[in-house]
């Protein structure tokens, strides 16, 4: 049976991206044919400006080589314009008369530069700025002519002007508005930008209207005349006064258009067999001219073309970045503000830095940055996530590094980093390698960079830096996905938030029903989503859902930590960091008996036996069990340790019995699984020898009771725990910390530490649930105790017949 036919009109970024997304989720579904009017394979139009500026070559900006089309069985017709669409017969007819039948048609005809309706606009030497041909013409003109005039002081116009200047032309930018980039910048930033561009040698005529282009003796344009009569020489005129959606073909074919091809939230036109994406589209009355929204559209269109019918495009907030080397400019959202907004402004004209953040109802809704744009992506993320910022408001304007994030202090200005600087310390990836991959492979998202370079794919602490590099390399094409809508992994469109909610609302209790009902594209998920789902199931329905060992990472399956040589490490639990001669003797005996090569004291006050062979694990555990010890869960996304100081038991400064409190907490939390690992500490006085300030839950004894701190982290990003509240008794410490951890267990996303979760939901939210709501707190604490009742030592359980098989290799005589 032959496959249905998909025809794409327009071989540009939006159309081809849709095809890529489609191939990703449903390869081999369609016979695909692509028509492109330009004689090139799909290239990155955004990078034409660096090509013009001489910083890149055409071959570097090609996104899909001809081989890609071949490998994916796509028929590509370049240099072929479609003349009309015969919707009744379901075929497209090219200008050369050739025809192609379609079952589904995708229109992505993009936009065309707006040519001012003035005399002389069709003279030789007058061009728009849209494609490789225009770019070539400008490069050529720069070798033979002197005077260039760019009409339009928008992003594209300024990039064109900068490129032509770098190629040696004398460039004047003519702009109708009162300042440059008035659609992206406020007046102050616009003037600062003008000053730096003037320093580079560009000239500006603002609030100036062009009246006519005048022909010279050669037949080519020779001068430009403005309203009021002023005239200047011009051998090249670039019109960059805006773009118009290119929807003539669709309109002529009877598809409903209104300043663009009108589509619904599934990117479908009024003809149900025809979809449209990209700049030619009018969605909810908006035609987007930046690439990031087009990619979001592509994803939705692909899903519907694949027949899955999941996902709607609901519009985009956009950000822009000017790609003029040496000028840092970033703007996003509603940067002008209005009556109902407030502004935070940092203005340092001498230092060349200007930042403005626009806030409505305690949420960031827009911003402009000039001179220092390192935090642009971070602000943009806050904006997209709609996060309540009032708790970080006082330091917001100074950027992410002052609000507590980082890990790369003083080294966060991606654009200034040398190519040889190491970005990802885990995998040894330099900035140069990342930039190279972004350009060569046409990468647009953090996930793509992770996949191709491994940067940020291990500990993730450099993810922010990688995002900055992405943003500075591809400019406005970079859009971070909003956290709560970002898909869990490649198997699904659903986010962690959505999956958690659906599991609860629809009462889904097995991974099989989740995969089936939520439309997973893989038969049993992957190493990313399956552990997450297993955790969501057992944490949501502790007495109902069944734990699936095969959905757990090996450490949790083998109850030990895998090491780089395939051996394991064994950490027996020492409640509160306390031990005794009997336990120490048993540990020493076990270490000798199983020839453990390394014995080490851990940061969490435990003893680690490293280098145990997997087949020896059940036996060494049996020996340790016999001495009264149980699993230390040093391997799990689970309760790890409660670290204690010696407290009032011994210490002359102690105010509370820290060791006793620690042991009680650790016993309460035994075998508790959580989104990520959980560490606690109890100090007996504010000297805080147990380092409670960097723990998920830190308890500090004071004379009148205990202070509770939450969301600390001593690992990847050192994060100081935040003060939650003060309590009086041991029972309250148990109740408050238990309730806090249960809230995290029920609402955190898999692999989200408490500090990240807190950053996402805000401390006030947590205080509302844990401190203010006495009833709610007690219920949460009770749910924690209920889900932990009957907890068994996993080491002892591993000796049961079904469980022990994994530890026993099968011998063959070969």
């Amino acid at each position: 049976m032959s496959k249905p036919r998909l025809v794409l009109i327009g071989n540009g970024m939006a159309g081809v991206r849709t095809v890529e997304e489609l191939l990703k989720i449903k390869p081999d579904h369609y016979d695909i044919t692509i028509f492109g009017a330009e004689p090139h394979p799909n290239y990155n139009r955004i990078l034409l400006s660096p090509v013009l500026a001489g910083e890149m070559t055409i071959s570097e900006i090609v996104l899909n080589e001809l081989d890609w089309y071949k490998e994916n069985g796509i028929t590509l017709h370049t240099g072929k314009q479609i003349a009309r669409i015969d919707r009744a017969a379901r075929k497209v007819i090219a200008e050369d008369g050739s025809e192609e039948h379609y079952d589904r048609l995708l229109i992505a005809t993009g936009s065309t530069p707006f040519m001012l309706p003035i005399p002389g606009n069709d003279l030789p030497g007058v061009i728009g700025y849209r494609d490789i041909k225009d770019t070539d013409e400008m490069i050529d003109a720069a070798t033979r002519h002197k005077h260039a005039v760019v009409i339009g002081g928008g992003l594209l116009g300024l990039e064109a002007a900068n490129g032509l200047k770098l190629r040696g032309m004398d460039v004047t930018v003519v702009h109708l508005g009162p300042w440059l980039l008035e659609r992206q910048l406020d007046e102050i930033a616009g003037k600062m930008l003008q000053k730096s561009l003037e320093d580079k040698g560009l000239k500006f005529l603002l609030e100036t209207q062009t009246e006519a282009l005048i022909q010279g003796e050669s037949g080519r344009v020779a001068a430009i005349r403005f309203k009021g009569g002023m005239q200047i020489p011009a051998d090249l005129v670039v019109m960059a006064a805006g773009i118009r959606p290119n929807y003539a073909l669709a309109e002529k074919s009877g598809i409903y258009c209104n300043r663009g091809i009108v589509v619904n939230d599934t990117m479908q036109t009024y003809d149900p067999k025809i979809y449209a994406v990209g700049e030619c589209v009018s969605h909810r009355g908006i035609a987007y001219g930046l690439v990031a929204p087009l990619f979001e559209q592509a994803k939705v269109a692909a899903n519907h073309l694949a027949g899955y019918g999941i996902g709607r495009y609901t519009g985009s907030v956009t950000s822009t970045k000017l790609k003029v080397t040496g000028i840092d400019l970033f703007s996003a959202g509603d940067y002008m503000g209005g009556k109902d907004t407030e502004e935070i402004v940092l203005n340092d004209p001498h230092g060349g830095v200007y930042k403005k953040l626009v806030i409505r109802d305690n949420k960031l809704v827009g911003g402009v940055m000039y001179g220092d744009t390192a935090d642009g992506p971070w602000y943009f993320q806050l904006l997209k996530d709609g996060r309540d910022i009032h708790d970080i408001r006082d330091s917001l304007i100074f950027g992410q590094s002052l609000v507590g994030d980082v890990g790369h202090a003083g080294n966060s200005k991606a654009a200034d980093m040398a190519d040889s600087a190491e970005v990802c310390g885990c995998n040894g990836v330099t900035k140069g390698a990342i930039v190279q991959a972004i350009k060569a492979k046409g990468l647009f998202t953090l996930d793509e960079v992770k996949k191709h370079t491994k940067a940020a794919s291990s500990c993730g602490s450099c993810a922010g830096l990688v995002e900055q590099i992405l943003a500075s390399t591809i400019g406005g094409a970079y859009t971070p996905a909003a956290l709560d809508t970002k898909p869990m992994c490649g198997c699904t469109e659903h986010s962690h938030a959505k999956v958690r909610q659906l599991i609860r609302d629809e009462h889904l209790t097995t991974k099989e029903t989740i995969f089936a009902e939520l439309g997973w594209t893989t038969p049993n998920g992957c190493d990313k989503c399956r552990p997450a789902i297993n955790y969501y199931l057992i944490s949501t329905f502790p007495n109902e859902a069944k734990d699936d060992p095969q959905s757990r990472f090996i450490n949790e399956r083998a109850h030990a930590n895998i090491q780089n040589d395939g051996t394991y490490s064994v950490v027996p639990r020492m409640w509160g960091g306390l031990t005794n001669p009997k336990e120490l003797r048993a540990i020493a005996d076990a270490a000798e008996k199983y020839q453990v090569p390394t014995v080490k004291v851990t940061g969490g006050q435990r003893i680690d036996l490293l280098g145990v062979k997997k087949e020896d694990l059940p036996a060494i555990w049996a020996d340790l069990n016999a001495a009264g010890m149980v699993s230390g869960h040093a391997y799990g996304k689970s309760i790890r340790t409660v670290k204690t100081c010696v407290g009032a038991e011994h210490c002359r400064f102690g105010t509370q019995l820290a060791m006793d409190m620690g042991v009680k907490l650790e016993k309460m939390l035994f075998d508790m699984y959580s989104p990520h690992k959980v560490k606690l500490a109890v100090s007996g006085c504010p000297r805080n020898c147990a380092e409670a300030g960097i723990k998920d839950v830190g308890v500090i004894g004071v004379d009148s009771g205990y202070e509770l701190y939450v969301g600390g982290n001593g690992g990847i990003k050192t994060e100081v725990a935040q003060f939650l509240c003060k309590v009086k008794s041991d029972e309250e410490v148990m109740e408050y910390s238990g309730a806090f951890l249960q809230l995290y267990r029920e609402e955190g996303w898999y692999l989200e530490r408490t500090c990240h979760w807190l950053e996402r939901v805000g401390l006030d939210y947590v205080k509302g649930k844990i401190v203010a709501d006495d009833e709610g707190r007690k219920v949460l604490h009770a749910r924690l105790l209920d889900s932990l009742k009957g907890a068994k030592d996993p080491w002892a359980a591993s000796r049961e017949p079904a469980a022990i098989k994994q530890f026993i290799p099968i011998a063959v005589d070969a």
Binding site: K451, H452, S457, S458, T522, P523, N524, G525, C526, D527, R530, P531, P549, Q550, S551, F553, I554, N555, R557, A558, I562, N564, G566, K805, Q806, P809, I810, A811, V812, D813, A814
Partner: protein, 103 residues
């Protein structure tokens, strides 16, 4: 030339799991079983840094190495792009609920 050795019952390998077959020489072999009850055998050594693939998470026809997350195709032994590398395969079959390996 095939020298089929009886390894174990199919049920001795958990679905979406594996067992290790230990040879006198030549290194361990990992035997995998997926959710469709297909079995596969690979050299138990990731082409990246030698991680024991038998300890990875099995999904579809792939296994994810527990050390650094490379995905290896169970049926072809090839690393999934963008990673590049390959891992030795062994013939394996199921007959009457028993698993045989060609060594």
């Amino acid at each position: 030339m095939s020298n089929w050795k009886l390894i174990c019952k199919l049920d001795d390998i958990p679905q979406l799991g594996s067992r290790i077959v230990r040879r006198a020489s030549g290194g361990d072999i990992a035997i995998f079983r997926n959710s469709a009850d297909e079995v596969f055998a690979l050299h138990d050594k990731c082409p990246h840094k030698g991680g024991p693939l038998s300890q990875g998470i099995v999904h579809g026809r792939r296994v994810t190495c527990p050390l650094h997350g490379w995905n290896i195709g169970l049926d072809d032994g090839q690393a999934v792009a963008p990673d590049v590398g390959s891992c030795g395969r062994f013939a394996v079959k199921i007959e009457g609920g028993e698993v045989f390996l060609a060594v």
